[in-house]
Symmetry: C2
Subunit: 335 residues, 2 copies
DNA sequence: TATTGACATGGTACCGATACCATGGTTTAA
DNA sequence: TTAAACCATGGTATCGGTACCATGTCAATA
């Protein structure tokens, strides 16, 4: 394997000069630069990033720690982050936590060992530990999608309260009075906020907030189905459901179908997070779409800004808008 | 930042002994091991993988170079690869080529600079260059999904010819005589093989192979729509379509819908690669499903076997079975 | 008893780049 | 004219681990 020294010898300069040429740092005359370039090409020189990173302690790598890459919402976020990082000459490492704190801890410690430059983190729980561990090791962090109480950290997210409120109001405007809420895990900020927004809309419409209409579970198809069945088994079931994400909504649909109920005829269903039109054959759900691609892109840009900044940046909160897309899963009822 | 030397000093041993403890290599007495462990914990020692990788020239990292992570087929492959790699203590780097050779070249060169241990490669074109570049730099390669003519390399793939033949036979068995083939890009082995299997089925059934019924394009929704329109504009359009992947099939559906044609009433449609049930609300397409998760898992396992092997392994071809899943997109016609 | 090999530990060099400092020459400003 | 600032290049140490080789103990074996 040819090294910087081989190139230096061939070009008749010192290794450090080759380094300067390759990194565009310091002063190098055009003549020397050309000679070095030629020598490098002739020797088919490939820089050893390990050596460079080791010495300079910059890996030019960031990590995206998220919950589940198989959810198209996160896939899109990942794509946005990768495109932005790639444009800034950073490489992205993806880590799936499956919403499990243990996996998250394992990944975080791996990232610290690797001396990664920065992390885009979707915290598995809203615990502050992961953020602190990273910050203690001087690794830049941008949190996505969720708040981390008490942490001094950048956050890029959508306005969940407002979005949930708008979705709920849409149902109310269509005459629904008993709306079931399929909530996310306890203690997760997005989950709490969506429930909060739901509550705000009910209060604003002077509708009763029934605890029995709010159920909680994970962001998965199975959980969505379970929660739906629980709501259906109530003495007075809701006429509409608000699912905290796309997978839950699909689960709800499955559960309703199993009970012989149709959407929207027997039950209206709305949810967060659209499914890409390339996947769903017939776009069907009325959804509150988050700008998934932008979420990833903006977060990556912020992280890189932080990495390239000369001075420490003040933590910032960036809130992206959401968009209500009306389709066929809501029926107007008489109220 | 505490180093191995700090730990050694505290434990009263030589740095190399600490290294032995941390890597479980060589002989270390239980007593010494315990002392070192304690010292490491007390000092909150975090190994520097950069230094280790630099010296040992093993990064414990593999890359998955694929065409488009937003296609759920590839997402699933990625998940399979990551789970397997993770179990073997390897980290995975994902790279999207979008089927563009330029991007692929850029990524490959980045991976070489990073001295990655191995690459799972879905070649953007069936060119041998990428494989050779990697092998020249002593980076292990396993090719996924596609053949690379002339390359001495492991391949993990499904049997496309057989699968396409079976799909076509399914259409023929349902009375279809004029079957349109939405083919993939020229020169891509999977694309060619699917067309080949289609042809075999026609020949076996003594049906004419009309060149006009075979169109080619990319593995995208838009391309699927374009190809479908081209077939519809023929003097005697087909009664069934075979799409070379899931996205093309969605595109076909869109195009048919735009022309006011229904599936399966006016046109039967089958395709390769299922869409996950968590995404599609109503599984609809009759598909030839590949074992996407296993494809990734098996490939990663093979790559790791290659990396851990003492001797050079002979290139192997691993072919995974596919499964025909019948749903609602095929209509029986009178023949 | 002598030899062998498993066990346990350490010394030193080195992986390939860059940080830091030093050295001249040339140009510009006071 | 002289100091300061810029330009161009090099020497050397060093980042934090591991490879390689050396050394010594002790039990098993011939």
């Amino acid at each position: 394997m040819t090294t910087i020294r081989d190139v230096a010898k061939r070009a008749g300069v010192a290794p450090i000069t080759v380094s300067r040429v390759l990194n565009n740092s310091g002063y190098v005359s055009d003549d020397t630069r050309a000679r070095v370039m030629v020598a490098a090409v002739e020797l088919n020189y490939v820089p050893n990033m390990l050596a460079r990173s080791f010495r300079s302690s910059r890996t030019e790598t960031i990590a995206l720690v998220l919950t589940d890459i198989t959810n198209p919402f996160w896939t899109t976020v990942a794509r946005g982050a990768e495109d932005a990082a790639s444009a800034g000459d950073y490489t992205v490492l993806f880590c799936n936590t499956d919403e499990q704190e243990l996996k998250q801890t394992k990944y975080i410690s791996m990232l610290v060992r690797r001396r990664i430059d920065g992390v885009l983190l979707v915290p598995a729980r809203s615990s502050i530990d992961a953020v602190q561990t990273l910050q203690q090791h001087d690794i830049a962090v941008v949190v996505l999608d969720r708040r981390v109480p008490g942490a001094q950290v950048d956050i890029v997210r959508s306005d969940s309260i407002q979005a949930a409120r708008a979705l709920t109001e849409h149902l109310i405007a269509n005459g629904h009075r008993r709306i079931g809420m399929l909530g996310g895990p306890q203690g997760l900020s997005v989950a709490e906020e969506r429930i909060e927004g739901y509550g705000q809309a009910l209060r604003a419409a002077a509708l009763p907030l029934e605890a029995g209409l709010i159920v909680r579970g994970g962001f998965s198809v199975d959980s969505g189905a379970d929660m739906t069945l629980a709501l259906l088994d109530q003495p007075e079931p809701p006429t509409a459901l608000l699912a905290s994400n796309n997978f839950m909504a699909v689960g709800a649909l499955n559960a309703l179908r199993a009970r012989g109920l149709g959407v929207p005829d027997d039950m209206s269903v709305v949810c967060f997070d659209d499914l890409p039109t390339s996947h769903t054959i017939t776009p069907f759900f009325t959804v509150m779409a988050q700008q998934a691609y932008d979420l990833g892109r903006v977060a990556a840009d912020r992280l890189m800004a932080r990495l390239d900044a000369d001075t420490e940046l003040r933590p910032e909160e960036i809130v992206l808008p959401t968009e209500l897309i009306q389709r066929q899963s809501v029926r107007r009822v008489e109220s």
